[in-house]
Symmetry: C2
Subunit: 391 residues, 2 copies
């Protein structure tokens, strides 16, 4: 029997208009200030179509006119740029010891960036209440700025299924939790969509949109938290796998005679190359102390970081061989230790990678990359045509 690998999906003219609206929106974001003629020339759409699409975007307050251009040959043109003043996208990360919240405008401008302590082991209901309280304060702040919240995405370190349910977040002690639904209830149906996603997936989205290698089509992000997870972008989009569980690199075995892992296995990447392999208790303060010692040239500390770097290099080599990304971005606590981690990592990677043309960098997005990625996911859905309706 022959089956089709793609279900028939006919295009129709409504799709065409939605697609073209988002094409124009993205063009303005990337090229502002620009005129209608610039848009027509840059996208290949004809001028009448562009005028109609721009009128629609202005009505939705996604784009605005900013007056005439001055120094240009020919008739002066009205220039356009993103408006977005009435909108905000929110991202929240829940992790061991902290909750981060980020709000950004339509163009990605940072409106707010908070980090609060969060007790991982507490009762689930109390944890949700604590997260909801933070979200309420972010939403109130946006309301004060007269911004409509386009959506919220929550980053969780664990297995999140395709429906957004938390199947297992071992380091938070969560299992089979409808976190999005529970938060919507706690927020009393806030009127914007709430999505839940894996922290590494969202951090990868943040890198793709805001990072040093923004726009890379094949990029892998490795979280450097208590757990190590990968966010996999191939051909320009997150690849989640059949059930949404891709990127579970933390428990790949690096060494059959390696140390015991918290998961019960032996020699896992997380046990050998996670931040827990370096620290007794994972805390920002302790990482700062390690960084200070290494910076002062303490040989024992540097040797410990380099050993973690070598082990991480083995993991990155697996990623490089299997996925062939152009960039691997290290996040979390790996970032401050990168000066000592990266050389050791590179040595191991070059020895193991079949195609060694891969760039490994520390994230430039800071510790709230996953939260920022939550906001990026909201902006992605605007980009792909889910525009806010005219109010």
């Amino acid at each position: 029997m022959i089956t089709s690998n793609i279900d028939p999906q006919p295009a129709d003219f409504a799709d065409v208009r939605a697609t073209n609206l988002s094409v124009v929106l993205r063009f303005v974001r990337d090229h502002a200030p620009c005129s209608r003629a610039d848009i027509a020339a840059g996208t290949g759409l004809n001028k009448a179509t562009v005028s109609s699409l721009v009128a629609d975007l202005i009505e939705r307050r996604l784009v605005r006119e900013i007056g005439l251009t001055e120094n240009r040959v020919g008739r002066p043109a009205i220039m356009l740029m993103l408006d977005g003043a009435p909108y905000a996208a929110i991202g929240v990360e829940i992790n061991v010891g902290y909750v981060s919240a980020v709000a950004v405008g339509l163009g990605g401008e940072r409106l707010l960036s908070w980090r609060r302590a969060f007790e991982a082991g507490q009762h689930v209901g109390e944890g949700i209440a604590a997260v909801a309280a933070i979200i309420r304060r972010v939403v109130a702040r946006m309301a004060k700025q007269n911004r409509q919240v386009l959506g919220l995405t929550v980053a969780v370190p664990g297995l999140i299924d395709a429906q957004g349910a938390v199947r297992l977040a071992p380091n938070l002690g969560w299992r089979d939790l409808d976190l999005g639904g529970d938060l919507a209830k706690a927020l009393r149906d806030p009127g914007f969509p709430i999505q839940v996603d894996n922290d590494a997936n969202l951090a990868a989205l943040a890198e793709q949109r805001f990072g040093e290698h923004a726009g890379a089509t094949d990029l892998v992000y490795l979280t450097g938290e208590i757990g190590v997870g990968a966010g996999v972008i191939m051909d320009g989009a997150l690849r989640r796998g059949a059930l949404g569980f891709s990127g579970e690199i933390g428990h790949i075995q690096l060494d059959a005679s390696g140390p015991a892992c918290r998961c019960g296995r032996v020699g896992c990447l997380e046990a050998m190359a996670g931040i827990g392999a370096l620290l007794d208790t994972v805390s920002g303060a302790e990482v700062e102390e390690i960084e200070r010692l290494a910076g002062a040239g303490d040989a024992a500390t540097i040797a410990r970081i380099e050993s973690v770097g070598s082990n991480l290099g083995k993991g990155v080599a697996i990623v490089a061989n299997l996925l062939n990304p152009s960039v691997v971005v290290l996040g979390g606590f790996y970032v401050p230790l990168a000066p000592w981690l990266l050389p050791a990592l590179e040595t191991e990677l070059r020895a193991r990678a079949i195609a060694p043309e891969v760039t490994v960098v520390a994230s430039s997005l800071g510790l709230d990359a996953a939260a920022l990625g939550g906001a990026a996911r909201v902006l992605d859905s605007v980009d792909s045509g889910r525009l806010p309706s005219v109010t």
Copy 2:
């Protein structure tokens, strides 16, 4: 700076028609015999549009009418099915010791399946001449059947870059070879496109279209030749990575104290779980002998196969954790040994996979899966709208 993750790609009405032509073509392939009304109901396109699209497909001899339906309520309708009688898609696999050639019709029906001896170590020019000679005979056979060749894809075990050049095929002794260009020259510009792709990639395409798990959106194929490579399908399409080199699983290290690999490294998957770990010289005859011994209950042989199965399970666990496929298909020489390989593989996989919901099966496509995949890639380009023009 904010950069767009997708270049603006406006849709236009010519795109819509090409898309809808391929939607109708795929619908007919999957649901034939069917009427124009069935197509309208199944695709959501309106009846006038369907009539116009069907007329176009009939003119291109991709679809044909097969008379009226009989036992149906209401007015009898003219039924349609794939025509494609005038077309053929060709796939060729070059590997250690053999060349396979497959030709299929538009609906995937097998027209021809050949396998010839091929000397891997010979001079490059002689190798290309030998492959060209086989292709010429396939094309002549198709011409005799009055079939136009839509395209040809050649499968090669090695690193094939995004432009289709063979960067490195160690087991064939090839490096930096414009195989497609050289074959086109040897065939004196045959008038159909020639593409070159990695053998595992093409075998994955064959599984996606013709295999037991056809239609799976997240599927990984593992070749069981002298080398072990992976073809990675995620979200319904091959994912090749930044340079086209994804799926290089063969030299991922399984054991730091494992056996030496031909690549100079130690404990590679290929050295521990490749067919070379089981055989002294890889040949069909020797695999048959191993199969016979295992079938007769020879304990030593079974233990050797199980050891390879365990090692392969470690590799499959890496794939499962990083990519979360729903199906992993084992090909090549793994197929006849599957009864003894799979149980050992499963045990290791369950112990190591974070999300163990993955099905591992032996390919049902036989030894020419990669060649068949070459033909599938030609059909894929028809499906995605590159229809043969009206002659």
